[in-house]
């Protein structure tokens, strides 16, 4: 009966009730989305690279190096020479290296010049290797391997001819249209930026730039695709490379050796260390956002409590009736608490559904921009914890109107003062 009373009472005031639910839902949604997106991006970033001990590039900021080499965000300020790469590759502790040459794109998807070792040694997630859904690694100069998303979004299949563009902007005006590439392989989805990448050989990168200098075509000089094959296609420089060691214990020693490399200004970073630096920078922003979300929640709860308190005056007759037919004062206390419970629960559920829908919409956008696959279902243990916390706070705050109802009912005589 108490439940029916609370439910009917809320239905009776459905406009106010709905608005209250909506404001709690928005608070809940903001709070959850901050937590959810933060957690999912962290996981996405962490999952992108596994089993790589060092990332080596030209000396700049460690975070910048990590972002452009692994996450395809931003661009390199400088290249490193092929000689330096070969020297470090030959170091006795180095088990494998993956060279990366960046700077070209196709329809906004970044092109990575690399070696076959990419397909052998690159690991993501829990040390998972890349797998091919179709075709095989590149072998010829003009072969390309597509990430899963690239193939899916552009509708490409094997043997498709593609033209690469110079630069990494979405719209490029300079195309390497004299040297088209052929798709020979398509990778299985990984949920990492690999899905958004087009992989070609270092020789391919060299070939398309053979008649270029300083980022522009040399006027009057054109070398055809066939002609380029006869030239020496050993790269002169690359953007960065990933290093795997035989013995993890040697990581710091090699890092120091690379940082002290005398012939060129190189920098080696540990991906895990740089990632945690990145989280530290983002931590402040996260905290600020979480605090704002908390304020939004508190504001919406306060709104609900104010609403309950102000309607008590209108409900005076109703309380008098209940009192006259024998309802003890604590019955009114429970009635108010139950109404708050129902409102808050509805708000929490609505907020979760809103976020879920939001995530379903945001998921492809985030994947396009950052290559990270974000789970759309926001329900997690932490989510339940937050929900429980909000519910507890709401019930605690509801003691104010509930106690007011209790007092009002206690002093209520057997007459309904009109």
């Amino acid at each position: 009966m108490l439940y029916k009373l609370a439910w009917q009472s809320l239905l009776h005031r459905r406009t106010t009730a709905l608005l209250t639910i909506f404001s709690i839902a928005i608070g809940m949604m903001i709070m959850l989305s901050i937590h959810h997106i933060q957690q999912q991006t962290k996981q996405g970033f962490t999952n992108t690279l596994s089993d790589t001990d060092l990332i080596v590039g030209a000396r700049s900021g460690p975070i910048n190096l990590l972002l452009y080499s692994v996450f395809r965000i931003g661009s390199a300020s400088n290249n490193i020479s092929w000689d330096s790469y070969k020297t470090i590759k030959r170091h006795k502790n180095v088990r494998w290296t993956i060279p990366l040459s960046l700077g070209d794109s196709h329809q906004g998807y970044r092109v990575i010049g690399t070696s076959e070792d990419y397909f052998t040694y690159y690991r993501y997630g829990q040390k998972q290797a890349l797998a091919f859904s179709q075709g095989q690694p590149f072998s010829g100069v003009y072969d390309a391997v597509l990430g899963a998303e690239v193939a899916k979004k552009l509708g490409y299949t094997l043997d498709q001819k593609i033209v690469l563009s110079h630069g990494v902007a979405k719209v490029s005006f300079t195309h390497h249209d004299d040297k088209p590439f052929t798709v020979v392989g398509i990778l299985a989805p990984t949920g990492t930026p690999v899905d958004q990448s087009i992989h070609i050989s270092l020789a391919g990168i060299e070939a398309i730039h053979i008649d270029w200098q300083r980022g522009v075509p040399i006027s009057g000089l054109t070398i055809s695709a066939e002609e380029a094959l006869t030239k020496d296609l050993t790269p002169k420089n690359i953007t960065a490379f990933l290093v795997g060691l035989d013995n993890k214990m040697m990581t710091f020693r090699l890092q120091r050796a690379i940082n002290d490399y005398s012939k060129e200004a190189l920098m080696a970073v540990l991906p895990g260390v740089v990632l945690s630096e990145l989280w530290q920078i983002m931590g402040g922003v996260e905290k600020a956002l979480a605090f704002i979300a908390l304020l939004v929640i508190v504001a919406s709860l306060l709104g609900m409590i104010t609403m309950m308190l102000s309607t008590l005056q209108q409900r005076q007759r109703e309380l008098a009736v209940l009192r006259a037919i024998g309802a003890p004062p604590w019955f009114m206390f429970c009635l108010i608490q139950l109404e708050v419970l129902l409102l808050t629960l509805a708000g929490l559920i609505a907020g979760t559904l809103l976020l879920w829908m939001g995530m379903i919409i945001a998921q492809p956008i985030i994947q396009d921009h950052y290559g990270l696959l974000i789970e759309s279902n926001p329900i997690s243990y932490t989510h339940l914890l937050y929900g429980g916390g909000i519910l507890g706070t709401a019930l605690l705050m509801a003691c104010i109107p509930a106690f007011a109802a209790y007092r009002q009912s206690l002093g209520q005589g057997l007459t309904a003062r009109a």
């Binding site: 109703e318 006259a324 037919i325 309802a327 005589g413 057997l414 009109a418």
Partner: protein
């Protein structure tokens, strides 16, 4: 009609401020009793303490001195929760107006009283009461707020009568009704009260209504407070 006392008031004094007896007493009733099954018309000018007396009988207020015995129970010896339960079980209350929870259906309003009183749910009894109070059955599923005042007062009467309480307190229940519905309401209340051997304590300032009742009491006669 039995000879047991329905209401027995002895040496009752009531001050608004319990501690400070220098306040003049609102009520000072040395002795007053009502037989079970009697219908009493209690009248007096406004401000004479009628509502206070009802609240003392209903167990909402506690007397400063003396005791109120209802059906052999000294109600002010009970805890407040016990008094609430006692009221739910033994007293049917009808107000002047706004007797119903507006957002509940008529049936739910009646059931609310039934549940607090601890009586069994019996739809046919509700239908019988509707029938004898000239209310159509389909009214039961309407929202209380959709009913006319006369209909609402009769629904309140059904709720008060449903669990066959030994005492019904009606505080100016007809003052919001027009003359025709008023007389009909009083006749129905007294008829149903008689059939259930129920004491009816009817409070009003409208003296001509007294003719319907077994006994008419002016509060001034029993209350010795100035």
């Amino acid at each position: 009609m039995t000879n047991t006392l329905s209401i027995n008031i002895e040496q009752l004094r009531f001050h608004w401020n319990n501690k400070n007896t220098s306040h003049p007493a609102v009520l000072d009733i040395p002795q007053w009793h009502v037989q079970q099954g009697e219908s009493i018309f209690l009248h007096g000018p406004s401000g004479s303490g009628k509502s206070t007396l009802l609240n003392l009988i209903g167990g909402i207020l506690s007397p400063t001195e003396g005791k109120v015995t209802l059906l052999d129970t000294d109600i002010h010896r009970l805890s407040s929760t016990q008094r609430d339960r006692f009221r739910a079980k033994n007293i049917g209350v009808i107000f002047q107006q706004f007797n119903l929870v507006p957002y509940l259906s008529v049936l739910d309003n009646i059931r609310l009283g039934q549940q607090f009183s601890g009586a069994k749910y019996d739809l046919s009894r509700i239908q019988d009461l509707c029938h004898s109070l000239n209310l159509t059955i389909d009214l039961l599923h309407q929202k209380a707020s959709q009913l006319s005042t006369g209909q609402q007062q009769r629904v309140a009467m059904i709720r008060a009568l449903y669990h066959r309480p030994p005492l019904i307190i009606a505080d100016e229940p007809t003052s919001a009704l027009d003359t025709d519905t008023r007389d009909e309401f009083i006749q129905l209340l007294l008829r149903e009260g008689q059939q259930n051997n129920c004491t009816v304590l009817f409070v009003s300032h409208d003296k001509p209504l007294a003719t319907h009742f077994d006994r008419s009491v002016a509060l001034g006669e029993i209350n010795h407070a100035v």
